[in-house]
Symmetry: D3
Subunit: 246 residues, 6 copies
């Protein structure tokens, strides 16, 4: 099984961090393929950036058709996720959605912990999109501001542990949200009295599971692939796929 | 006051239809400006197309900075709406959201009527996004299939009237959803025992009102304009605006 | 367009304050008409008082039939609003409902700020009535108690600014609720990092917009005017209107 | 224990019908007292009428102070209920609320059955007010139109039985809503495969129970009696009670 | 009327405490019968213990058939309640459900106060089960840990009063949850500015009321008694009842 | 990895059917272990039976400690699931919960299809328990009644296909609920225009995934294993485990 870790950020180092974290839990028969966005932002951190990155994710999925059995959109906030499910034939998962659904099988309430207050509103909107408000205990962030995206997991380890402990007073499961802190959950598990989830791991295992349960992806009902349509100005592979001219 | 009717579809005729409908209700001091997408689809009808069209809407808003006091994203489904509010300094409204909020001041429950079953799921997701499920009576469509987008309002007048009558049994307010049927509400009002709303009119009046109440737009709280950020591969005006290099 | 600012409180000075605030945003073609309750309370501040004031609002609307194109029930808590929509032929708006619906087009979550803790439960019930709990961040009040209703906006300016700042940590939009603080939003906008809304301005612009969109008001569906009915002991104009003997 | 059956309609015969139904279930130590509105409508059937009747209910409760230990507001729709709880010292119950809360202890979902489609929206709003949407299966009415309010229970027995059977397919408990059909539940219980509730019986037993559990009524928290307040134009006993001059 | 106070805990002293509290409010024509579990735990305090105790409650109800007119499952958390309603012919009430439903007729929001943080999640799940999240202000507990279950009401009186005062800031009605503090509500009512409810009293009065309103219990709709079924290894009376061989 | 398929029904043939279906999707490194209840019912079909079977499931899990890495409670309705998560150290999944959570990653709305109307209410309560009402399109059943549990999947194939087609008009994903129809989803997938899910497959893959993500199970937060407690009359292994005397 070829599992695509699609990073809609343009930072290759984040792709590597995410793939490394996913590799820690995937079974041996899952082979990870990596892709990094070439259009967009080094690190998506707003609704506007997600709007643009989601379109790029669709272009990437179109151009990589045939090279993967399932794909993970590897940014918290799931840019382009429902659009991708509608358009393509293979299972596609997202870090936010997969982490939240996994949390529901491990505890009564879940919380998000992330490293920047600016992410709180956008991340919270993912909970509404999936319809899980009743099980959501809120998003928690450190007061401290972070320096570099590349080293935030290391630089902010102490304040993030403290934040997780606050979250653990309200929730059974704490999701460490945001690609730059992928892998941190495993490192600090002993320091927090809650179940910690690493979203890319959850998304990778969900993609693996869907491949076994439903290798055809979501292509039925309201997610049936739309009829052929002409377009203007789209990247070639995406335009061809939408025109069913592939 | 200059009010931008931004059509994220690539069909100029739809822009004209939408602007004509809006013009019927706007006060004299509102001047309509029109823009039609150059990248995207003749008519958006899926989540995937909205993902792409929403990114194009952002590019259009960036390139038209300074030429409008408020903007209407003139496609039901509101592609790019929250992203636009976050990014730009002027009030931005959307046809779905404005029609639904207006409906709440005119009746207890509202319904959507549209011309194609394929739109039902995506349109219904707008209700969830705005958080109005409790006031929502469902989306109703004719059984008949439509022929041409350009003439659907005329071709399907009879089945749409019948559908509105069905919707009127469940709701006080019926929203005629979809740019191709803009203007139809006024034509069939006598034939339906419910309050009919034309979304582009609702969105235009909402934009007009916000301009008077809050000319600075949504730029506070979680919708504060993000800090400057570099990007790769974006249209020039949008990249410059996001980099705060405009 | 003649726009009735109907104050269901018996205090003329409040009517003037409300009308002055509305006048600041209304277009030139809107002419404000004022009416002040003659039965009821100097300032409504409980469910019981709203029950009584709502009945008086209906009597006022009946006796002023023909003199207005749209009406604003100018007390937060909207006494008599849905009853008025059912009974009369013109658009009627309320300060709570209009402010909340306007807030939804400007931010993700809204909060209420008011000057007295006794108002919190009753004001919160308006959120439930309209069905907007998901977007509601709570009602915030100063700890300080207020002296005179007439001068509360001036006397409590500092604690209200502090309260708005607390509310701004939970919400994008802050509604300054309560007729005695009408107009304050404009004065303190620079001191609060959120979008401030003045409810009577929102209600006046909503009434103006409905007049253009739907000059016939809400009279369809469950808000269709009830059949003629006899009554006992009602004010003459109201009894006549309900008996359809006007 | 003296239990006031307060009929906010002006029809004495309805008061008698309601009291007779309540008497069938009340224990021997409960003595029924009757009161019929002198201001208002023969039979309340709209939001507007409930607004006016609720104010009259407050006046009645004020003038009967000292003569009852608990009161039932005996009209489905509960006009004035929360206002009464706020203002007075004794337990007050309402037919809608009591029937719905009782239903929750007898089945998973409840439905309303009433005799006129015009009541559906207003009755449904009671479900929202109490916050029980999740347990609500809808309001069902016969297609047939009724003739006289006084004899509707007899005239429409057959269509109401048929309607109850339809409701029973969606709900475990069926509430026969509307004062004119008080007592019918007992007569048709054998003809419907569901639990039938008579709202005035539920409200009377709830009032009886609250008298034993909480004879002081609701006077704490947000229902604490408001401070003394002057008023203009109110009925004497009500004005005096509100001014705490009784 | 014979009213069974069924204690699913194995501690006889708790049964006595619960019966004594119920006796304080029940009318003279209600005779209390007591039963204490012989299988299970001295005091149920987790989901797992409730799973086991609920099965025991069913066995007790089967073996006591014919000896009661209505039953109260006298443990907060209502172990076995919906199962019992399905299986048996008489009204059955539970402490959690009855207290919450009673609270809704006395105030806008209710809170739970209990003596041990470990109970919070399980108790909160009762609110979800009954569908009352909108009226729920949370569960509050003292920081202090308790010593003996038998004397917790006395030992923790001061911290529980302090906790009730905290809860009263968020809610109109405070439910003192947990069999070991049955009766405490009456003792501390003067010390808390809220309406205090004793759950076993609420459940006993609800059972009394249902006996008068609906002596046949819940046996219709989805709570109709299941058809005869064979079983293996169940207590004799329960097996016989389920096999309809009684 | 040893994966326990725990059948809380007493019918060995159902265990075999469930295990066979799970085996079709599990990876090679997952070894299935089977257990069948010895106390309870041939086939659980009511809330009361689930109450009893859930207690038996706990006893089974206790007696099999050390022999499995993760467990599936293999009955739709998930008897004992949250209790098991609280008590034991390994991941435990349930057929209802796993199928619903999996559905959320494959479509917008899901429906349940089962073979007997008597199961509808109880199955629907699982949706509420997990908090997924917003994504739920209802439970659908054939009108035809079934004969033998053992052969229901074969006997009712045609009416179940018809029922799935009805469900597919309301939902993207259809869950074939009930152990006796395990495996049917694969057989009829070509006949239904929706995504079909087999719950035991979803639960098995979820258990497999949790073993990789969180091999320690749910033992933190409100699901932390309770302190040692004495009990009376419990099966030996369960009593010992609860007393922490294992």
């Amino acid at each position: 099984m070829k599992l695509l870790i699609l990073n809609p950020n343009t930072t290759q180092a984040l792709t590597d961090r995410l793939a490394a974290s996913a590799a820690r839990v995937l079974p041996d028969d899952a082979q990870i393929i990596r892709a990094t966005a070439t259009i967009g932002f080094p690190y998506i951190s707003s609704r506007a950036e997600a709007q643009i990155a989601g379109a790029e994710a669709l272009a990437m999925l179109a151009s990589l058709q045939g090279e993967y059995d399932a794909a993970v959109i590897a940014a918290f906030g799931d840019p382009g996720l429902t659009a991708a499910r509608e358009l393509f034939d293979k299972p596609v998962t997202g870090m936010s959605e997969a982490a939240m659904l996994t949390a529901l099988s491990l505890g009564e309430r879940f919380a998000l912990v992330t490293f920047a207050p600016a992410l709180v509103a956008w991340y919270g909107e993912q909970v509404t999109r999936v319809g899980l408000e009743k099980r959501f205990a809120g998003t928690f962030t450190p007061d401290a501001s972070f320096g570099e995206i590349a080293t935030v997991a290391e630089d902010m380890r102490a304040p993030l542990v403290e934040t997780c402990n606050r979250a653990a007073r309200e929730a059974d499961v704490v999701i460490l949200a945001g690609a730059p802190i992928a892998g941190l959950a495993g490192d600090i598990a002993e320091d927090v009295p809650a179940i910690l989830l690493d979203p890319v791991q959850a998304a990778a295992m969900q993609a693996y599971g869907l491949c076994r349960l439903r290798p055809k992806g979501s292509n039925a009902g309201s997610f049936a692939r739309p009829p052929a349509k002409e377009s203007t100005g789209l990247p070639g592979a995406l335009a061809a796929w939408i025109a069913r001219a592939e």
